[in-house]
């Protein structure tokens, strides 16, 4: 009898894996909806607004993909995932696309059988402490209690950082950002560590954000990007180029405001190719020629998405920094659209 329990669990895994492997594009089209994995709620990146509609930096990427593939930016089913459930959800086929502040690492790309389609936010792990603590550097945190989201790369970076600097700490594992925030504010931990962008987003939701500071040390590289299952290269190409189109659009000066005007009269052949008035790029990835136009119109180009959700005008207040276009000294560099 006990044996059947084991096989029962294997079954779930077995049946779930059955969904993977098929052509994702066909599945999405047949379903008429894109299943997109996002966080359970991180202001600015993915969180439902007052009307219950998901919005944010990662959400915008999902909407752009839906607009390109299905022609409707609202044809997205958002699936909230935690740091622990996200990979299982993607591997099992429960979601088609994971846009959840996920760090691109070697083992995730290879051993876990995923494909990162690019980087939509260059981040690094930081520490937030209450000002009253009087700490000015992460190296002063010897013996501190640290709140940390489990199942993340930050958990491993944290262990490495403290070991490297030969100081000790006591981890308090938390499941979600909301839980970490609660523990941190209650004083159950001295410092909260996660990606610096996430810390800024979390701090923005505090009652008195001014009482908390981000320490200057950035202890890791965290290239955050959307990912898809390994093995379905067509789907990987589509999503990769939707993201690239958003980045290229900013570089080329295409915005959601001027896109209609540009479609008709542009002398720049690259813009014409991107917007589908020239060439057959859409055909090459199994879509129509206006795919990129729809993607850009969904939530705007990369710069617009950044400014609207997490930019300096928003409560999150992140500077472009590394996430500026390469022409402005940042790391964003879309390959040529041709």
């Amino acid at each position: 009898m006990k044996k059947t329990v084991i096989f029962g669990a294997l079954t779930v895994a077995g049946l779930a894996a059955g969904a993977a492997g098929a052509a994702t594009l066909d599945d999405v089209k047949a379903r008429g909806k894109l299943n997109c994995g996002v966080t359970t709620g991180l202001a600015g990146f993915a969180a439902p607004n007052a009307n219950g509609e998901w919005e944010g930096f990662d959400v915008a990427v999902c909407r752009a993909v839906a607009a390109a593939v299905l022609g409707d930016k609202n044809a997205v089913e958002f699936v909230p995932t935690t740091g622990k459930t996200r990979f299982t959800a993607l591997a099992s086929g429960e979601i088609d696309f994971l846009a959840r502040n996920t760090t691109w690492t070697f083992s995730r790309d290879t051993d876990l059988k995923f494909d990162f389609i690019g980087v939509n936010y260059y981040d690094g792990q930081g520490f937030m402490v209450p000002k009253a603590l009087g700490v000015s550097s992460a190296k002063d945190l010897d013996g501190a209690t640290v709140c940390i989201q489990t199942g993340t790369t930050t958990e491993l970076n944290l262990a490495d950082f403290f070991r490297k600097n030969n100081i000790s700490y006591e981890p308090v594992p938390v499941e979600t950002n909301a839980e970490g925030q609660q523990q941190y504010l209650a004083g159950a931990c001295d410092t909260y560590t996660t990606d610096a962008s996430g810390l800024a987003a979390t701090r923005a939701t505090f009652e008195t954000p001014g009482d908390h500071v981000l320490l200057p040390e950035i202890i890791s590289k965290e290239p955050l990007g959307p990912l898809v299952r390994h093995g379905d290269n067509e789907w990987g190409d589509i999503t990769r180029w939707v993201l690239n189109a958003l980045i290229a659009a900013e570089e080329l000066g295409i915005t959601s405001a001027n896109i209609e005007e540009m479609t008709g009269n542009t002398n720049n052949p690259e813009i014409a190719r991107l917007l589908g008035t020239e060439g057959t790029l859409g055909e090459m990835i199994g879509l129509d020629n206006e795919w990129a136009k729809r993607a850009i119109m969904a939530e705007g180009n990369y710069g617009e998405i950044f400014a609207k959700n997490i930019g300096e005008e928003t409560p999150i207040g992140l500077a472009r920094g590394l996430n500026a276009q390469w022409t402005d000294g940042g790391l964003l560099y879309a390959p040529p659209v041709r």
């Binding site: 059947t4 993977a20 492997g21 594992p173």
Partner: protein, 404 residues
């Protein structure tokens, strides 16, 4: 069943497999077994095929790789460079620790509440009924959260103990109650402390021997020896004398605020306390009902007869009612202990590093070896649960009605 004639002899026809009651049940069992085997085979091969298609394989090599993460409560040596297997051991020991502690306290809560529910005092009776109904009718998950949230929100942070005029002070100068846990003085073992401990263990055995002797004397001769004070004396005196003979080898290490946290002494983390308390108080409510049912299952005639023989009420309970009630209490108590062990897997909710949190949580997540980790987890809980059942069944056999 009425038989009108002799049963037909040795004329087996295939149709009898269904029509004849002698064969029908066997037929159905064979069919059910075949279906079950087919289903398992189908699911297993489906799993294997899908894993192959996804380019994945079942491998337990990850257990030997460095875990890479830190754990806040480790009873055995562990660093972030230890293997995933070591992390799993840390989790197993933490699971066993919280399960054991919760089983003990749940039993104490349950027995007290169960006996008091039958009290003649209206207020006590109703209070205990309220305890049982409130605690067993709210999911344990919510109790764990409530208790942990209250602990972290209501208790002072360690920083409140800092400064010349701190908001909080340590109790008796040696106990600190913070929202990260309780810090108590811990023993420091000096040379010769093993002899003191050995003396203590010998004293414990001595107490049992004395009580056995006293009981035997009572049954043989009817002479009643004093129990309490000699037991206490045997338990403590030799150890204390040995402690001074050896030159006080066991000292106390007091916790003190150093840097961000208290250091020194023994730290009992807030997650452990919250989980322990929530599990005990929740399961205690179930055990209380078992105890009450057990006591009420003993017929009134038994206690009336005992009273008629002149036994005092305390003795009636101890010598007549409880031994008989135990026969009813033990079997459901086993399942309550099993529940505690399995419910302890909710530990990750409050950041307690049990086996589900280490092997089934962080390791699973960082290595992506979901199937392997889940299979190991199931094996662990199965082994532990069967182990508890076995031990408790031995005890059950010792207390159950001896039929001669």
């Amino acid at each position: 069943m009425t038989t009108f004639s002799d049963p037909p002899k040795a004329s087996f026809r295939p149709s009898m497999l269904l029509s004849d009651t002698r064969y029908r049940s066997i037929t159905f069992q064979v069919i059910a077994l075949a279906l079950l085997v087919t289903a398992i085979w189908y699911l297993g091969s489906n799993l294997a095929a899908n894993l192959r298609a996804a380019g994945l394989n079942i491998s337990f090599q990850f257990l030997g790789n460095p875990a890479g993460y830190d754990i806040n409560q480790t009873l055995i040596p562990y660093t972030s460079q230890s293997s995933n297997l070591q992390a799993a051991w840390v989790g197993i020991i933490n699971t066993l620790l919280v399960s054991f502690l919760a089983c003990v306290t749940a039993t104490i809560f349950g027995v007290i509440a169960g006996v008091l529910r039958l009290s003649n005092n209206w207020l006590v009776r109703k209070l205990m009924a309220g305890y049982v109904e409130i605690f067993r009718n709210i999911p344990v998950l919510i109790w764990i959260l409530i208790i942990y949230t209250i602990m972290t929100a209501a208790m002072p942070a360690p920083s409140a103990f800092r400064g010349d005029d701190p908001a909080s002070t340590m109790m008796l100068g040696s106990f600190a109650f913070t929202n990260r846990g309780v810090y108590i003085p811990g023993p420091v073992w000096g040379p010769g402390s093993m002899i003191v401990m050995a003396t203590f263990v010998a004293s414990v055995i001595g107490v049992f021997a004395y009580r056995r002797y006293a009981t035997k004397l009572l049954y043989d001769t009817g002479r009643l020896l004093p129990m309490l004070w000699p037991s206490v004396a045997i338990l403590l005196l030799p150890t204390i004398i040995m402690f001074f003979i050896m030159g006080m080898p066991i000292g106390l290490d007091y916790p003190a605020l150093k840097g961000f946290n208290f250091r020194g002494g023994i730290q009992i983390g807030a997650p452990l306390i919250a989980l322990w308390f929530a599990l005990s108080i929740y399961t205690g409510a179930f055990i209380a009902e078992n105890v009450r049912a057990g006591i009420q299952a003993v017929s009134r005639g038994q206690s009336e007869a005992a009273a008629a023989l002149g036994l005092r009420p305390g003795r009636v309970m101890n010598l007549v009612v409880l031994p008989q009630a135990l026969r009813v209490i033990i079997p459901p108590l086993i399942s309550n202990y099993l529940n505690i062990t399995k419910n302890s897997s909710l530990a990750i909710l409050v950041g307690y590093a049990d086996i589900t949190a280490t092997l089934g949580g962080i390791t699973l997540n960082q290595t992506g070896r979901a199937i392997e980790c889940v299979v190991l987890l199931m094996l662990f809980y199965l082994v532990i649960s069967l182990g508890i059942s076995m031990v408790m069944n031995v005890y059950n056999n010792a207390t159950k009605l001896k039929e001669r």
